[in-house]
């Protein structure tokens, strides 16, 4: 296993990039601790797959260096980097048995048959594939095939990093949590450095110790699931993680105190507004707002039943503010007011947190 470092990585798919806009990755500096479980999370086009391909060696970055345990591997091929990869769709040999599929990456590297056998059986046990070992892979369901792909990725014990690129896309929803938790359990057991790329917040948050959120070629936050939820460093993280996403209220600062529509708003800390900030906003998640006797007056515009809770959409003037209310609770009629939990209310200047 290895500690991975990305130094000043920039990448453009164009031969002669002119400006910032031509770069798929703007500037990335990242340290991935040995043995960690990481997720790269972001919408399509954010640069996460480019970043993954730079780590694996499929793409050579326009600028910057990739280091494995301090050794520069920027120009090395994927084979030379000694990594394992699992892709979105199953990559297996239909004509081989499940056993031979799992053994292939080991035999390919000249591992002795005795060690191959021990390792294949160990991985098969972890993934509940023991009874399938003698079967031909061609007869399996998409789920079954993807499990073998996962097994092939995990079977070599000496790789520097195991990378997963949207590995659960083809898996039926009710099986997803089983495989997700299997992967997590495997990570805890083998302690390999794992990088998991996905656009699905649930997958990222439940798999990784550290989630790296990407947007528009930049890393906008690195944190634990709880940090991303409770203290989004950027309004994009607030929007992208959580459903519905974080509310954003236009804000002005009067004598250092944040105000919304002329009324002071209590926040977690005192904001430090950088000079020349163009846009100041108050960010608060729907989970941290409740109806109260005093507070911001709103009118209720829509109520959605989400089963165990209700999503209430309100408006104060033109500003939309959503909040979550428990199932079965009665909503205020006229003259509704809301209160924001100060501990979970942040101020953002040009998108970045300043409280």
């Amino acid at each position: 296993m290895a500690q991975i470092r990305l130094e000043k990585i920039r990448h453009s798919y164009q031969a002669a990039p002119k400006g910032e806009a031509d770069f798929a990755l703007k500037r990335i500096d990242l340290d991935w601790a040995d043995g960690g479980a990481f997720a790269l999370l972001g919408p399509s086009g954010c640069g996460k797959t480019t970043l993954l391909n730079i780590i694996s060696g499929l793409v050579t970055p326009t600028e910057g260096r990739v280091l494995f345990d301090g050794k520069d591997v920027t120009r090395l091929t994927p084979e030379q980097r000694n990594i394992a990869q699992v892709f979105q769709f199953p990559v297996i040999y239909d004509t081989m048995t499940v056993y031979d599929n799992l053994a292939f990456p080991l035999r390919n590297r000249g591992v002795g048959e005795k060690d191959v056998d021990a390792r294949v059986r160990e991985i098969a046990t972890m993934l509940d594939l023991e009874t399938m070992l003698p079967r031909r892979a061609s007869g399996l369901t998409a789920d079954g095939k993807q499990k073998i792909s996962l097994g092939r990725g995990l079977v070599r014990s000496n790789v520097n990093v195991i990378m997963f690129d949207e590995p659960l896309t083809v898996i039926d929803p009710h099986l997803k949590w089983v495989l997700r938790s299997k992967l997590k359990e495997l990570h805890q057991r083998v302690r390999a450095t794992m990088i998991y790329v996905t656009h699905d917040q649930t997958e990222a948050l439940t798999f990784a110790d550290q989630v790296i959120v990407m947007h528009d070629g930049n890393v906008v936050q690195i944190g634990t699931p709880v940090e991303l939820f409770e203290r989004p460093q950027h309004t994009f993280v607030g929007h992208f993680i959580g459903s519905p996403g974080m509310n954003l209220l236009p804000c002005s600062i009067v004598d250092g105190v944040p105000q919304f529509d002329g009324q002071p708003v209590e926040t977690g800390g005192r904001p430090t507004i950088p000079a020349g900030a163009a846009k100041i906003e108050i960010g608060v998640r729907p989970e941290f707002i409740r109806f109260a006797d005093a507070g911001i007056p709103v009118r209720i515009v829509k109520v959605s039943d989400a089963g165990r809770f209700q999503i209430v959409e309100t408006k104060h003037g033109d500003t939309a503010i959503s909040l979550l209310v428990a199932e079965g609770s009665t909503l205020p009629a006229d003259g509704a007011r809301i209160r924001l939990d100060p501990a979970h209310t942040q101020v953002y200047a040009d998108g970045w947190i300043v409280t």
């Binding site: 949590w177 519905p244 989970e287």
Partner: protein, 372 residues
């Protein structure tokens, strides 16, 4: 980046929308029965949702409604008129699938205009109608592009625009959001009911996700292995499922179930886990029942009112930031707890959890709902 502002429109019955009635419809293919005898009447005014897992029969029912498939037995009525043998071309129907289906060689404009061209609508009118629909679906700046130059969300909006522009009497949406990114799904799920709110059409929407059915509202038919198990207002089906199968179809994470005995004014789950049968449960006769508890009613902290303590070995513990999920082992099998906030558990440890005993489902021997 942030969800755009919403205008509020109360869902109201579209009086002019068509009613679709399936009478004793059966669909067999060879020796296999895909749809068992089904009676179902759908109206306009809000979505009609077909909720069930893959292969439950959702797509087959839609194809029968569209006229793409002919029922083996039974009749199909549109506004009381028998259309059983009428082909899809002669029914005014549009359909949107999970896969984004557009003509790759045509521009977005031509894609949206295609059903109108087929219908022989005048050029000027086509331009006007395409423009209006493109505006609603935020495709106006993209009309000159080809589908390959669009994101997944834009491609699916193009397919939706084609369905909208046709002004069909019946719109069938077969898991239209399944292939989209999570945030796009959220956005379009908001958008869809508004798009159809003031149109005189009946909308049928198939999904595998209980949460999606709830958020779309309207009416829901739950499907299981080729049978409609219940049909009614979405919230009512969720809160009062007629039977255990419906409760299972309408619960994600899966509903926790197990045998429970009522005796001497108490419910007895195991020797250690028992609680008083109070309120509406008090009058039930003693005997054996099947208990159904939704995951969010088992929590690491005791609810304000009635609760029973339960312990189990932790198999999986997941924290998503706002919610914690714990899968734990009890005598009845694997149960799931879903709670608000951050509650870390170690795999293998014994978790102490609380069942909210005021909101249980009880089913009888035939798995019909007795109390909710």
């Amino acid at each position: 980046m942030a969800p755009y502002a919403l205008s509020f429109r109360a869902s109201r019955a579209n009086l002019d929308a068509m009613s679709i009635e399936l009478k004793s419809v059966v669909k067999r293919v060879g020796n296999e029965t895909h749809i068992y005898e089904t009676d179902l009447t759908l109206n306009g005014g809000g979505f009609n949702i077909l909720l069930g897992t893959t292969l439950a029969g959702k797509t087959t029912l839609m194809q029968i409604m569209a006229g793409l498939e002919r029922p083996t037995e039974g009749r199909v009525f549109f506004d009381g008129k028998d259309v059983t043998g009428v082909s899809v071309q002669k029914r005014n129907v549009s359909m949107v699938y999970q896969q984004f289906i557009n003509y790759p060689a045509m521009t977005v404009y031509e894609n949206i205009a295609s059903p109108l061209r087929v219908a022989g609508v005048a050029q000027a009118q086509i331009r006007e109608r395409v423009g209006r629909v493109a505006e609603i679906l935020r495709l106006a700046p993209l009309l000159d592009r080809r589908p390959s130059q669009l994101s997944g969300g834009q491609q699916q909006r193009t397919a939706l625009a084609r369905a909208l522009v046709k002004e069909a009497d019946l719109v069938l949406l077969d898991e239209p959001l399944a292939n989209l990114d999570y945030k796009l799904r959220e956005e379009l799920r908001e958008e869809l009911p508004r798009l159809f709110a003031d149109r005189d059409c009946t909308v049928v929407y198939a999904t595998t996700e209980p949460a999606e059915a709830l958020l779309l509202g309207g009416h829901t038919a739950t499907l299981h292995q080729g049978r409609v198990t219940q049909f009614g207002e979405t919230g009512k089906v969720y809160r009062r499922p007629d039977d255990l199968i419906t409760a299972r179809v309408f619960s994600d994470p899966p509903i926790n179930t197990g045998p429970v005995r009522k005796e001497g004014g108490q419910f007895v789950l195991t020797r250690q886990v028992r609680w008083p049968a109070s309120g509406r449960y008090a009058a039930l006769p003693d005997g054996n029942y099947t208990l159904g508890i939704r995951p969010h009613l088992i929590t690491p902290t005791a609810p304000a009112k009635d609760s029973a303590e339960i312990v189990g070995r932790v198999l999986i513990s997941e924290i998503s930031g706002s919610e914690s999920t714990v899968h734990f082992e009890v005598d009845q099998g694997t149960w799931v707890s879903l709670s608000h906030g951050v509650h870390p558990f170690r795999v293998g440890e014994t978790a102490q959890l609380y069942i909210d005993t005021g909101k249980l489902f009880l089913f009888d021997r035939e798995e019909r709902l007795i109390a909710a």
